[in-house]
Symmetry: C2
């Protein structure tokens, strides 16, 4: 069994059709400076301008839109401290359902407010002593809710893939696509779209470099679990799932690690040159390019700028 | 003689046709939060994502594209410390000409570098003791260059008007259009486009409030010279020209003044909610909306976010 067949290009095209009008067709940003720096043509897909400020709305919307009327009427559950929480809350509201979001008790107030602002109910848990997967499953079972996972779901993956599909439809074939990796849903969907359009194109996963290996290699082979280092670094944080891993090991040609300083340089470049606000995890692809990690740089490169939910005060600190 | 006939809607349509492919069709950004705050539908035209990071590229390109081959071969001159300098430098290069830009000797290095990066020659002057208009005219005469003024030129005004035209073509009729005012070229062109499409629509000029009138009125009548206060506040800075004033006094229905704090709030809102970087002078329209200066708020409001050239370090200070 080939796991990449779990989600097909047609599934992604269907998702794009399903979400038309509800999801923003985000702009592709070009930078003369970036092109000159790499000697390439670089196409930046500005998913920070997506609704809720990140690509996550695509997957949540695509998954919730395929639920039955009965499921929509019982409601949705999700666990997330970040963009997936907002994505599910907004998509549920737009599709006439309700959402219960399981969030860590120490989530910043601004994030809790954003989710509550979309009309969702928030249930908190202690992320140091409790397991969100277990609580989420119990909550869903108790209340008859449908759980929408942040990435371990074919409909979520197909939804995320529409970001790359839009980019490819707009700019044509790419030699390489660089995609930030968290749980792996975005690169799974994007990689399926890119490989289907051009089997020779390379998909690169950009990841923050683990702080524990300051002099470690800046690249790892694609066979390695793309989030292993990420997982070691931040106990309690999410790590790529089995479904996304089983898809991505066939799709990812290269894993590029970028340091915190390189990510900060990318945030500055985005503000200075692109006039865009990016969140650190959404800037790893741009950081990889600016740090010269793609050598030799392919002729036509797509990069997904995956989100911009950083907060003005924190951005101020990062830029100052 | 009606001065608004100096530039017609057809001139603006011709300009849009002339610059197709060279000038970005910038995205229109929507914000659910902003809509809810005003009880209106707000359409934000993101000219900070225009080439050189501001609307100024439109006017410079439209003016230079209409020069004769002989004029292009002799070259262009311009005086500006800011966005117009970059706009003329890039447009001249793209249209096969050369540019000499007169800039204050104390211009920040980053701005000098940007202009030089587009291949222009830079001539500096002392802005405290020398008159840039005089020096610019002499420079142009000596070298046979064609001077492209920052706003006092029908082709520049028609070019700037394409920003509003694109917005109107994309979103349809507006009840009000709010436009930041510097020299008055953007609002002149935008106002002509908006009034031609919908004579009943209101054009509001948004301006920084003069620091010398802390308790002064937040609105002034349209008969008053829109930049008078601005001029008093910053000796040596540009002030609206006679051509733009003669057009704008027929077009501007309302002048809205915003304080530095209100502008800062708008920069924070843009970063937090829109994921966009704005320069302070480019955020005055958004600031007017957020400060509740348009009451009662019309049903459909267009706002031009006119530029984003603030610099990451300065932005960091403003957001922190």
């Amino acid at each position: 069994m080939t796991d990449t067949t779990v989600v097909s290009l047609q599934d992604i095209r269907d998702a794009a059709h399903r979400m038309a009008g509800a999801v923003h067709h985000t702009p592709v940003i070009r930078s003369r400076t970036l092109d000159a720096l790499l000697g390439s043509r670089v196409y930046l897909k500005a998913e920070n301008l997506q609704r809720i400020g990140a690509f996550k709305f695509r997957g949540a919307y695509n998954a919730i839109a395929q639920l039955s009327p009965a499921e929509l009427s019982r409601g949705i559950a999700a666990y997330s401290s970040g963009n997936h929480a907002q994505a599910v809350a907004l998509a549920a509201a737009e599709l006439g359902s309700t959402a219960v979001i399981l969030m860590p008790a120490d989530t910043p107030a601004v994030k809790l407010d954003a989710v509550a602002g979309y009309g969702a109910e928030i249930v908190t848990y202690d992320r140091y002593t409790e397991d969100r997967v277990q609580i989420g499953a119990a909550l869903a079972a108790d209340r008859g809710l449908t759980l929408i996972p942040p990435y371990e779901h074919p409909h979520v993956i197909a939804g995320q893939g529409t970001a790359a599909l839009e980019l490819l439809d707009e700019v044509g074939d790419l030699d390489a696509l660089v995609v930030p990796v968290g749980g792996g849903g975005l690169i799974a969907g994007s990689g399926i779209a890119a490989k289907a359009c051009n089997p020779a194109s390379a998909s690169s996963a950009s990841n923050p470099k683990p702080a524990t290996t300051p002099d470690g290699p800046s690249r790892r082979g694609a066979g390695q679990h793309p989030g292993a280092a990420h997982h070691r670094r931040r106990a309690g944080r999410r790590h790529p799932g089995e479904l996304t891993f089983s898809i991505n090991r066939h799709l990812i040609d290269d894993i590029v690690l970028v340091s915190d300083d390189e990510i900060r340089d990318a945030l500055r470049f985005a503000a200075d040159r692109l006039k865009l606000v990016l969140e650190p995890s959404g800037a790893t692809g741009l950081a990889a390019l600016l740090a010269g990690r793609l050598t030799p740089a392919p002729a036509r490169i797509g990069v997904i700028l995956s989100g911009g939910n950083v907060g003005a005060a924190r951005l101020g600190e990062l830029l100052a």
